[in-house]
Structure formats: structure tokens, C-alpha cells
Symmetry: C2
Subunit: 336 residues, 2 copies
């Protein structure tokens, strides 16, 4: 198994720190995560939240590219309808080049109503905009010849997009998918998939079966490193810590649903996809043995790439890397 | 006097180097320039040239922010009509934060016909788009309250833009100006000014007088660090090297005029603004004594901030820093 990280950082307006405390902590953490053997960091992108979430994700990742050597750098996800596709292709290519081929480009069509309203993009255009943008980005990256584009949402004349990407034919594309239908579509389109942190184990296993079947149908070999499974992890040594962690987790998920009216990758918020109440059965909560046991369960389902939600304390990342990773196919760097 | 650098780098499609040779050289050069005592690096932004010019300039500068400590990081210039103003404000703020307040944000309305055509932006909209975008960027950086914007070119509802900029009230804004009218407009608008590398000394001195007068009229104190003067420098030890350098310089300028039909900051390509033929009288070409003599001439006019066009060889930067800078108010780091 391989382990990556996903999450964000906070740099809020009116924060009195002289530089960005939140970004600074993230930067330190990613450098340490690389040393600890984590394979990737996927960062969110959000706009206008008032909570200081990362907005210029490709820029922050470009900074991290300069501060790291090996860890892969991902977006989770860049919402295509907000961006000029060609400028975005240039920015992503620049990151791919500067990081020497470490970009994992996670893309989506958007799910937060409030972002559609703020950008004045009608939500019903989301899929069309996503499709047009993705086509343009791929052409921008791969065409050595000049081309023009007369689309519904974007138009360009006689362009060739530079710099070139380093990963050929182009950086891996990732996107979230929750329903059987969207999972099959993503598999057929040749993108990699990100499964969310919310679905309980039974639904999560089912999603992987749907993915495999869809790959088989479209003649695509199954590669477990093209399936990222997001999971929250809390190392809780005793019963009391366990119960506190479960409660915190469930409150957090409820807050997200309340704030945005939806969870990413959870179409229509079907209750099936979020766990049994009172058990936070989506998350990996417990002592190291319990977390390991749950991971082995995922491994038996066929998952080999787990993306851990950035925990509140870096100590969890250290313990996970030192006590749990080495048990699973030699990942992680044991520390003397 | 203080000395910055301006220029670009090349990362061309089909380049067989495994990482970006061009960007890599620039990165090394900027790190060395910081050590040598240069105050700033201003990077160009261009799109679709087919020559591999930097397109995602804020991203490359964000990488440089991580590789440097003190040198200021500028764009010269970001063309506002190509960009979503709010996404651009987010990206620039992220760089300002990550660099701990080192962003010099150079902006323009565009001048290359071919870029207007490629982006399908009518050139006659350039000034209006520039004005609307600039207003939005300033509001995005400075408003802690949510706001909506219903402009001619861009519309948003109920947004607050994050992260915050570090420099308060906002990073310095720079823009090019060549004619008396545009110089006066820039002074009145509170922006800093970039004077081009092409105008000969007489016109350059005149521009500074126009700037000072316009500052006085708008009650703005004259600050010589708000006036950047771009200049090409070639250290040529003998007559033969001098003549070769003059010829190279004049060919290069002629190529730029030929390729883009215009030079930045040179309204209508008035011949007055580009030098006397056969003398490249805009540039600082000669042995160190001659270059120093020319710089003292600029100093007497009132210039204190010179932006040197990135030379083809880094040795010029080293010699300039070691042999010339120390003669002018202690700039530069003498090397044992």
C-alpha cells in the first residue's frame, strides 16, 4: 500500500500573524511528510469561503515543489468551470515542469451552490463547462501544432500552449466519483478516481467493484494506483479517546453537510454513503492495531492507495508512518 | 542607486531536456542575483508565442519565492484583460503571503495584436477591461467585507477574497508608461511606473520630468524607488566588442518591433523613443568605466532604480555587481 495526504490550510483575513501561519504550518508538514515516506499531498481549492481556505492551489503547490524533492503534488480538486482552461493549462504545466513531473491534477465540476452563485455560473452548465474545459486542457498540453477553439464557453484563435508538460502524454488527471454511473463514466474517460472519505466500508468496497468492472468493459487494465481512497485517521489509544474521536468526526461531517448542502462525491447525500450514526464507520479510528486491521480490510477489497485527511496534529502522521505504514508492504521510514 | 533585473526564460515545446533547462537556468541565476545584491527580479508574461516564453509568471515567481529570501518578485507585466480579476487577486495574494511581502505586481493592458486575437479580446476594450480589473483586484485585496460586482466584463456575487495580502494596504502596483499623457495618468492613479529599455537618454530624462510634475500636481511625494528604469547592459572591453554589442542590440530591437508591431511603452513606435541608429544609445554598452559614467548620468537625472535586462551570460551580472554597483551608493556585494 501507498499513503498520501489530502486537506488544506487556513490563511484568514485579519489574521494578525506576519506571514501566513496556516500556510507555514502546512509547508513544514509537507516537508516532514516527504521524509516520513508519504507518497503525495492533495490540496483542496475553494473560493470566497471567509474561512481562509486555499484558493490559489496551483500556486501553493508550486511553492511546495521548490521545498520538496519526491512527494507528488495534487489538487483535490480544481473546479474547471471557474477557470480559463488555457491559462489553467499553462499554470499546471508550469508546476509539472518545475516539480519535475510530480503534478497530479485533480479536477471537478463543482458541487458547492454558493461557489456557483458567487462566480455567477449556472449550476446546470457545470457538466458542459467541465467537458469543454477538459478537452481544451488536454489539447493545450498535447498539441505541438497551433489550433483554434470555438466552444460554447471559451474561444481562442491560433494558439499553442507553453510551457510543455513534463509527464507525457500529460500529467495524470484525477476526479471524484460517488455513484455507480459517475464511477463508470470516469473509468471510461481514462481519468483516475478519487473515492471520498465519507462512504462506509461496504459502499466503498462496492465502488471499487464498479470501477473494476467499468475498467474491464472499456479495456482499461486495472491499476490500483489509479484509485485513491480518502480516509480520516485518528489514533485513539483507549475507549474514551475513541468515543471522543467518533463524536468529533461525526460533528465535523454534519457541519460540512450543513454548510454546503452537499458532500463532494456524495450524489444527493444518500444516507447509505455516510456510515452508521454513532460509529463514524467511514473513518479509521482506534489504536494502531485497530487502524491496521481496518487498512488490511481495505487492502483485501483491492485498495492500495489511501489518502489520509490531514489530521489536526502532526504527531498522528508521525505515528502512522512509524507504527502502521511499515506493516503494509514496507512503506514509511522507520525512525531510530 | 538600486538595481533589479527584468526578463524571462524559455521552456519550449519539444525541448528534449528532462526538466526545463530554461527555467532551471533562470532559477539558478535569480538565486545568485540575490547573493550579488540585486534588489528585484521582474519576469515577463506572454502567451502562445511558440517561443516558450513564460506564461504562468505568478507560478514561476512563487517557486522563486521558496528558493530566495530577500529579492523582490515582480511581474512585468501581467496583462489584466486576459485574466479573471478575482482569481488573479487570489494568486497574487498567495505569492505575497508565501514570499513574506515581496510581490511587485506589474500590470498592463496588453500591446501585442496577436495576443488580443488569440484571446479573442477586442483591442479597443483593453483600457476598459484594465480599469475594471484593477478596481476589482484592489477591492479583492482590501475589502474585509463581502461585496458583489456587476461590471461590463466581470460579475460576482457576495464574495470575500482570500488569502489576505501581506503588504498593506496592498502590494505595490507597477505599470509601463511611455507618452506624457500615460505617464501623468499613472502618477495620478497612484501606481508606480516602469520606463522602458528603448527610449534614448534625452527622452528618458524628459519622462522623469513629466513624472515629477504629475506627482506634484496630484500631491504625491516623489519617491525614486517608485520609478523603475529598464536598461540593457553589455560590458564590452574594447572597440570591437563594443561594435558587436551595438549591432546585436539593434538587431534584437528591430526583431521585436517586427514580430509584434509595437514595443511596450512606446506608443505608436515614435522614432524619437528608440535611440539614434548605429549607436544603440538607449543601452549601457561599454567597459565598466563607460557603463558607470552612463549610470551617473541617469543618477543626475534623478533615477535611483535601474532594472537590468537579463543578459545572455551570467558573468555580466557578476561583473556588474562586483565592479559597478559598489561605486554607486554601496550597492552590491564585493567578493573576496
Amino acid at each position: 500500500m501507498k499513503f498520501g495526504l489530502f486537506g488544506g490550510a487556513i490563511a484568514r483575513r485579519g489574521d494578525e500573524t506576519p506571514d501566513s501561519q496556516g500556510y507555514g504550518r502546512l509547508i513544514d508538514l509537507v516537508q516532514e511528510a516527504e521524509e516520513l515516506g508519504y507518497h503525495s499531498i492533495f490540496l483542496v481549492e475553494h473560493h470566497f469561503t471567509g474561512a481562509g481556505q486555499i484558493s490559489a492551489t496551483l500556486n501553493l503547490l508550486t511553492y511546495l515543489a521548490a521545498k520538496t524533492e519526491r512527494i507528488r503534488l495534487g489538487t483535490a480538486v480544481t473546479v474547471l468551470p471557474w477557470h480559463d482552461p488555457v491559462l489553467l493549462a499553462e499554470q499546471a504545466a508550469t508546476l509539472d515542469l518545475l516539480s519535475r513531473g510530480r503534478l497530479d491534477f485533480g479536477i471537478g465540476k463543482g458541487y458547492r451552490d454558493v461557489e456557483f452563485e458567487s462566480f455567477r455560473v449556472p449550476k446546470e452548465e457545470a457538466q458542459e463547462r467541465f467537458d469543454e474545459s477538459l478537452g481544451l486542457i488536454l489539447k493545450s498540453w498535447t498539441s505541438d501544432e497551433r489550433f483554434s477553439h470555438d466552444g460554447k464557453y471559451w474561444r481562442y484563435s491560433d494558439i499553442v500552449v507553453e510551457p510543455p508538460v513534463l509527464q507525457k502524454p500529460h500529467p495524470p488527471l484525477w476526479t471524484g466519483a460517488g455513484t455507480d454511473e459517475s464511477i463508470a463514466r470516469v473509468a471510461g474517460a481514462g481519468l483516475n478516481v478519487l473515492f471520498d472519505q465519507f462512504a462506509g466500508f461496504p459502499r466503498t468496497g462496492e465502488r471499487l467493484r464498479v470501477w473494476r468492472a467499468a475498467c474491464a468493459r472499456s479495456g482499461r487494465p486495472f491499476d490500483p494506483m489509479q484509485v485513491g481512497l480518502a480516509r480520516a485517521v485518528v489514533i485513539a489509544e483507549d475507549r474514551r479517546a475513541y468515543e471522543a474521536a467518533v463524536q468529533t468526526r461525526e460533528q465535523r461531517v454534519a457541519r460540512m453537510v450543513g454548510a454546503y448542502g452537499a458532500l463532494p462525491g456524495v450524489a444527493g447525500n444518500q444516507p447509505e454513503t455516510y456510515a452508521e450514526p454513532g460509529r463514524a464507520s467511514d473513518a479509521l479510528i482506534g489504536d494502531p492495531e485497530e487502524v491496521l486491521r481496518r487498512l488490511r480490510e481495505l487492502e483485501r477489497m483491492g485498495f492500495e492507495y489511501i489518502l489520509i485527511l490531514l489530521p489536526d496534529d502532526v504527531e498522528t502522521l508521525r505515528r502512522f508512518a512509524r507504527e502502521i505504514m511499515p506493516e503494509l508492504q514496507g512503506e514509511g521510514v522507520p525512525v531510530a
